[in-house]
């Protein structure tokens, strides 16, 4: 992979600038996490001191599950917009006429979606723990939230799930002809890895540091494979004309 740091920096800088001025994206990044945060916070505060331990464990599990939905849906919304949004605005072609390589374009877009998504996820995770420690009427809740397997799972899964979601979103965005369709399909296609997370958090699979690490490794491999798939399907001729490159090897505009 040949990368030019200056071009990559320019691309990331632009992506952040555009994201920060896009009210729809900012709204999505702000509102969705709050929705997913509201329910577990209410449950944590409502839980009385005398409830059985299994109830506390289930509440902690469902809280983590909801917190791990955030690094899936927030980057999906951003990355699904990334290519089809450029095409709709007519900015894709000028971008492709520059020396920018395919890898630089994809990584630039991925970083711009990854950083805010993971930052929001971690921030909310810390916020939930702090609130539980300070305000929960049942002290067992705070203890359940800081179990080592949960902590490893949260900090490990959030970036890996975000990575998966980003590449899936960009893949959908490269083929979609409409931003909303891309965002709906991108979000939907990002969800499958959450099934395993749900099984762990709901203790159908017994949570442990080892299991979290194994699943983290599987997710990492899936992220790398998905990047390769996206890179391979990033056909500029299709992006510009709707027709895939045929015949001889293409003059990749961003290669």
């Amino acid at each position: 992979m040949r990368l030019d740091a200056g071009r990559l920096r320019a691309m990331i800088h632009k992506e952040f600038r555009v994201l920060l001025r896009n009210r729809f994206i900012i709204g999505t990044m702000a509102v969705l996490p709050l929705i997913f945060l509201a329910t577990p916070m209410i449950e944590i505060f409502r839980l009385s001191p005398g409830v059985p331990a299994i109830v506390v464990q289930r509440l902690a599990g469902s809280t983590f599950l909801l917190l791990l939905v955030i690094p899936v849906i927030v980057p999906a919304a951003i990355s699904a917009y990334s290519v089809v949004g450029e095409r709709e605005q007519g900015t894709l072609e000028p971008l492709l006429t520059t020396p920018l390589r395919r890898e630089e374009l994809l990584l630039g877009k991925a970083v711009a979606a990854f950083v805010p998504s993971v930052a929001i996820s971690y921030l909310l995770f810390v916020l939930v723990i702090v609130c539980a420690q300070l305000f929960a009427s049942n002290p067992a809740v705070a203890s359940a939230l800081v179990q080592s397997s949960q902590l490893v799972g949260e900090f490990l899964f959030a970036p890996l799930l975000a990575g998966w979601s980003i590449w899936v979103g960009i893949a959908v965005s490269s083929r979609a002809s409409d931003v909303r369709v891309a965002q709906q399909l991108g979000t939907l296609a990002s969800l499958p890895p959450l099934v395993v997370v749900a099984l762990i958090d709901l203790q159908i699979l017994t949570p442990s540091v080892g299991l979290a690490l194994v699943f983290g490794l599987v997710l990492l491999i899936a992220d790398v494979l998905m990047y390769r798939v996206v890179s391979g399907m990033f056909d500029r001729e299709r992006l510009l004309t709707g027709a895939p490159t045929r015949g001889r090897r293409s003059h990749s505009p961003v290669a």
Partner: protein, 327 residues
């Protein structure tokens, strides 16, 4: 090098061509975009690329700009062969301004240009950005959001962006589209300035008078290249030379007058007092015709060489083409 009917050599130069295109063809599946296109463009030349809608002009530009892979044929762009591995290097040496400038509307003019300066690897880009904005008379609008600019101003930002990297070849796709006459004239001045600086300009336009005024040579494309050459050469190859004569009253015996050793090879009259005379050499024929008219007691209002415009050339070439007629 042209495959068209009146292909001629570009202006003589010792330098290698800025663009050399040989039998380039592009198909999208069964659909033919353009076929067997060959021409060369010299360094510093302003080359016009004309043709009806769907003729393949934009696809040709995209192909030469490494955005689309040709189906067959070859090209050398800014001295670099058009191959899969040379895309980045070619794009570093050229710039393309699409018909729609495609600006980030939520970013300011300067922020848009900063992005492209970064993508072209310009160090300390601010002076270059200021120069580009001054060149398109947008020095005072740098901090404006692109979304707040009129179409004409956005077009100028697109031009400033194309100037940023100091390219060897600029591909301009309808650069005056949507501009008022004053703004269009500023773009023309800018293109002339680029010519003086030795930048090769590949100009796609529908404005034939613009091409006639600005371009050293023009190519007329209609899926296949119909013709390449200087406007004057195209005129001479397509039309015989003629004189337009206006008289105060209709001539009673035009055949008799025009065939009195005046060198007139044929004539037609579109209205009773206007005559178009085909001649081989207007400088020789005009005095003889005036003498013959005066001798016949005719009051001559005017006599001038009838010039065929590039539009006449274009329509003549396109009308000959049954495919164009069906578009």
């Amino acid at each position: 090098m042209a495959s068209g009917r009146s292909g001629t050599s570009p202006r003589p130069t010792a330098a290698p061509p800025a663009l050399e295109v040989n039998h380039l063809t592009k198909r999208f599946g069964e659909r033919l975009a353009f076929e067997d296109v060959s021409f060369t463009v010299s360094p510093g030349e302003v080359f016009g690329f004309l043709g009806p809608n769907g003729a393949g002009k934009t696809t040709t530009v995209r192909t030469l700009g490494t955005l689309i892979a040709p189906t067959s044929g070859s090209a050398v762009v800014a001295g670099i062969p058009l191959t899969a591995d040379n895309g980045t290097e070619i794009r570093q040496r050229i710039s393309i301004m699409p018909e729609n400038p495609g600006l980030y509307l939520r970013l300011t003019v300067i922020e848009n240009l900063e992005l492209f300066a970064g993508l072209y690897g310009l160090r300390n880009p601010r002076p270059r950005i200021d120069q580009a904005l001054e060149a398109v008379n947008l020095g005072a609008r740098g901090r404006d959001l692109c979304g707040s600019l009129s179409k004409g101003l956005r077009q100028r930002v697109g031009l400033a962006r194309a100037l940023l990297s100091n390219p060897e070849i600029m591909f301009l796709d309808e650069p005056t589209s949507g501009l008022d006459p004053v703004a269009a004239r500023e773009v023309h001045d800018l293109i002339n300035e680029l010519r003086r600086r030795g930048v090769t300009v590949f100009l796609t336009t529908h404005r034939l008078e613009e091409a006639e005024r600005l371009c050293d040579r023009v190519a007329i494309l209609n899926t296949r290249l119909r013709s390449v050459g200087r406007t004057e050469e195209l005129r001479e190859s397509l039309f015989s030379r003629s004189l337009a004569v206006e008289t105060a009253t209709p001539l009673e015996a035009p055949d008799v007058i025009f065939k009195q050793g005046t060198g007139v090879e044929g004539w037609r009259s579109d209205d009773p007092t206007h005559y178009v005379l085909n001649v081989s050499d207007p400088r020789v024929a005009a005095p003889a015709i005036i003498r013959a008219l005066v001798a016949a007691g005719v009051d001559v209002i005017s006599i001038a060489e009838a010039r065929h415009s590039l539009e006449d050339v274009y329509l003549e070439l396109i009308d000959e083409d049954p495919e164009a007629a069906s578009r």
